[in-house]
Amino acid sequence: MPKSQFIDPTDARKKGEIHFGSIPVNQYSKTLKEEKKIYSKEDFLRIFRDMFLIREFETMLNLIKTAGEYQGIPYNHPGPAHLSMGQEAAAVGMAYTLSVDDYIFGSHRSHGEILAKGLSAIHQLGEKALMDIMEVHFNGETLQVVEKGFKGDTKELATDFLLYGTLAEIFARKTGFNKGLGGSMHAFFTPFGVYPNNAIVGGSGDISVGAALFKKVNSKPGIVVANIGDASMACGPVWEGISFATMDQFRTLWEEPYRGGLPIIFNFMNNQYGMGGQTRGETMGYDMLARVGAGVNPEMMHAERVDGYNPLAVIDAFRRKKKIIEEKKGPVLLDTLTYRFTGHSPSDASSYRSREEIDAWEKQDSLLAYPADLIRSGIVTKEEIEAIKLVVVESIVKALKKAIDENVSPRMDLLAYPETIGDMIFSDGSVDKMEDRTPDTLMTMEENPRVQQLKKKERYGLDKDGKPHSKLKTYQLKDAIFEAIIDRFYKDPTLVAYGEENRDWGGAFAVYRGLTEALPYHRLFNSPIAEGAIVGTAIGYGMAGGRVIAEIMYCDFLGRCGDEVFNQLPKWQAMSGNIIKMPVVIRVSVGSKYGAQHSQDWTSLVAHIPGLKIAFPATPYDAKGLMNTALQGTDPVIFFESQRIYDVAELFHEGGVPEGYYEIPFGEPDIKRKGDDITILSIGATLYRALEAADILKEKYGMSAEVIDARSLVPFNYDLVIESVKKTGRIVLTSDANSRGSFLKEMAHTISELAFDDLDAAPIVVGSRNWIVPAYELENFYFPQAEWIIDAIDQKIVPLKDHISGTDFGDESIKQRNKKGV
């Protein structure tokens, strides 16, 4: 909502029409004679070699899957193999013009793209650069296998390396490109510009946009190509990615030299089927996919349908589209028409299409038509084509033999090293800045109005007489988050922050107030209302090497980015074999007062997912320390904040919140009040209700409660809690999450396991009701109250003298509620 742009009602209400231009469809019409001006004979042959190599590679996989052998070599591969036979011209055409600096992202059907882009990179890279890349990758572990018995030049060695690394990855070998943890649907190799392929349809649709954002914000060379399928056009992440990528602000508001469209081509590999659903004619309504571009922006995304059965047509299109991107007029939408002969997977009987249809496309197979054209035009001879085939088959046989040899290509030894995968879930890095250069800012930090204002605030909540300072004079939790974030903006030049209402407004809850003044648009901007893209792009940004804070305005909106938070963000570090780092912090604000869809604590949902670090501070001191840790790390962090306590002052840390930098390690709970008779473990804002309960216990029942603030959920060190339970013998756990499936239950169970003999009663969870969150006026019946904690203690742990419970925690009511499902 920039004030610089005036929305004129007279103009907005004016009568008019929207005009669409035309979208080219298969317009390529150059003859080989014309193309000879651009391509040498070697170029023509190389295009064929690359296409044939992909075809033979997948033929091999298809035979292994369906016949159990290739060239007399038997092997059983139980894992997936989504083949793209028929789509080779599209893959090679796509990769041909791309430089090593250009990144491709793919789908579950991307073997062809990996190989095409890899071969293109090998062609472009010098011998020394190639050797460096191969030697560095897992300290040469993959290279050593390939080098054994190898004869030839470095490019041939690199080709073998590409074939073997990909195949070993598909067969889940430790020597694969990603240690076998990615597999067929996720294999990638970043040194060749091959970024993660994604087994969730459309998964790359927003992640790739983040990589493009990284390139733009950090002035990196190269473009990004998202190779996604035609059916993914229906997916939210793809739409959201397109919306994000085509925001007006790139051209209207961002400063030079960052002004201009994002460098990305959404390349729809249109094989005309989404599994068995025919996208044109059955499951979509666009008639031709390229039409969609017309509705997105006035440039119609420079959309075009290209004949993906002719490699030269695809190369031509990419050459033209790359130029558009270089002129900062992106993004671009390409509808690369193609067809796959094999099924969705080897188990697919193709019952949804006719034999005639497959035959008809096979007759026009690019692997037949293209070399025939070359021979007919006298550019190459039949013998030259056959010679290439022999070399390729030989390479593939060689790669296969090595990839299935248990001795040279072992799998991870999880028997001897059972924690190998566990150790790869997090990278646990500590990095001040992801790149070393001066961060772009608009003023010094000292000049910042909010920084100046904070200097005058009381950093401890109480005066020397123990009375609270006035709210306005007190440094609050939201200030603590701000302080950690602005500090990092001045340290790490790659750091960007975005989300809904982050700029100008300063975030819906004023955490970012003062940041707009400090930062140019390309480091702090407003995103579309598209949580999928907010998180998805952050993943791509982190993957590409940048640090990012994305904001989800209300915890309840996490569902809108479910795939990004559950399947993408947590997984890529381990799925890459730890090649990728993910310094991504997702700030999630837990609401209250706004009812059922704006007040939920969903910490438990994310805590269930392996690969995310989760913090939920409840005090200013903890908020600053934990945010500093989040921003120093290299792991994805879901950073929960509570709207109920953005304004709390520091009441626990002696001397108040330090002005300087400090970190609070994740996983270390903190005793907020010492006690001997019962332990209360709280997560998030519920801390203050736990303290209230501790007061009541002390005053009314003479019990001293030890109140522990979990501070983080994942990781979590139980030592402090167990020590406390050993002392008190009793524990109540409380948070605002509704109790069924709450993370508190996980903690309660773990405590039972670790301290069983020390417990005088089962750990009791006091969570919210399993209801919708009612209106603010009724919230006290939904969220745990101090009295509930007392009631639970009285009924489940130790009967309190003369206590009259208001809330029923009895066994019968627990059974009844569960029976009813509430």
Partner: protein, 428 residues
Amino acid sequence: MAEAVFMPRLGQSVESCIITRWEKKKGEIVEEGDVLFCYETDKASFDEIAKISGILLEIFYEEGDEVPVLANVAVIGKAGESVDAFRSSDATTSSVEVASVDSVKVNPVETSHDVAGVETPSDVRIRISPRAKCIAQAKGISIQGLQGSGPNGRIIVRDVESAAVIVPKADPAAVNTVKPVPAVSVPAFASIPSNDDYVESPLSNMRKLIAKGMHASLQNSAQLTHHTSADARKLLELRAIYKVRAEKGEIPNITLNDLVCYATVRALEKMPAINAHFLGDRMKTFKKVHLGIAVDTDRGLMVPVIRNADDLKLKALATQMKAMAENCRKGNVDPELLRSENASFTISNLGAYGIELFTPVINLPQSGILGVNTITYRPADIGNGIIAFIPVIGLSLTYDHRALDGAPASAFLKEIRNQIENLSNDLV
């Protein structure tokens, strides 16, 4: 309507009682107020009075039976009434039989520390928290018969802690090395073998408790005894004066033992280090003196406590000690007063038996006990170079070396001597 007669529950610590004698027989008419049966607890014996009149329709436990508290012992009702509803499983309606998901199965054989649980029905399901169970085991407390105060009657830590009577507190490391008291299996009276050479008889509850307490004390502490003697001339002089005055009815009888106790309380006030409990990882030093007095009774040794003995003038101390000893001998002392944990220090006097020297055994968790011996005569320099025989009273202090060292223990013993030798003339 027939009514059950329950074994009463006397004090937090009592979990079962032994019926020593039935005063009424099955079928006999009983009047309200009649003594039905006599029974003994850990340390005292009681009479159970009929609360209603009627016919004693049924008796469920015989003499010698150990009965869990609150168990149904008998039924009183009108002639011809059925007693089936009170029988066997229904008869023991105490909470210990309530089975539930979180209750634990307790086999008395497994709880080898559980002397009292020998004759209770096996396989009784008891709800108890894991922590309470661990503490009970560490302290050697039987959980059978414990009344749970937690949710659903669950025995929780506070129940076990308040049940820790007599049974000494021992540090956990020591417990592991303690051999359980052997010979848990005690046959019923009827099956006791005997011949001309010997008679075997079962231990009384109290004997069992004493055995366990004494054994545990020697097993679980580092006790040793220092001996000294005090000039008893002042003591004897005061005793002679008080005797005359008591005979005139001016004051109650004040014995030598009362005077020694009085002097010891003064010494404890002055040097409180030994007026303390040793609790494994910490000391619990008392600000008041709760004086345990060893009393010999027909049933065995009892050690009732005089609470706040330091607040008592000599007369009051003497009166209370006398009353307490009488109660013990009659068997109607409050069991709470017999808990070793309720006393801070104990005195045992064997002087009347002519004992010249002995090594009293500490009542854990207390850290000291003073043995008082008989008066003997010894040569001493009574001034001006004259050596004469004077009366001296022997003092034997056993202390727990874990709690304090030899020097302070000796200093304390010296202080007692000092107090005895310098008793004031105007105490009464």
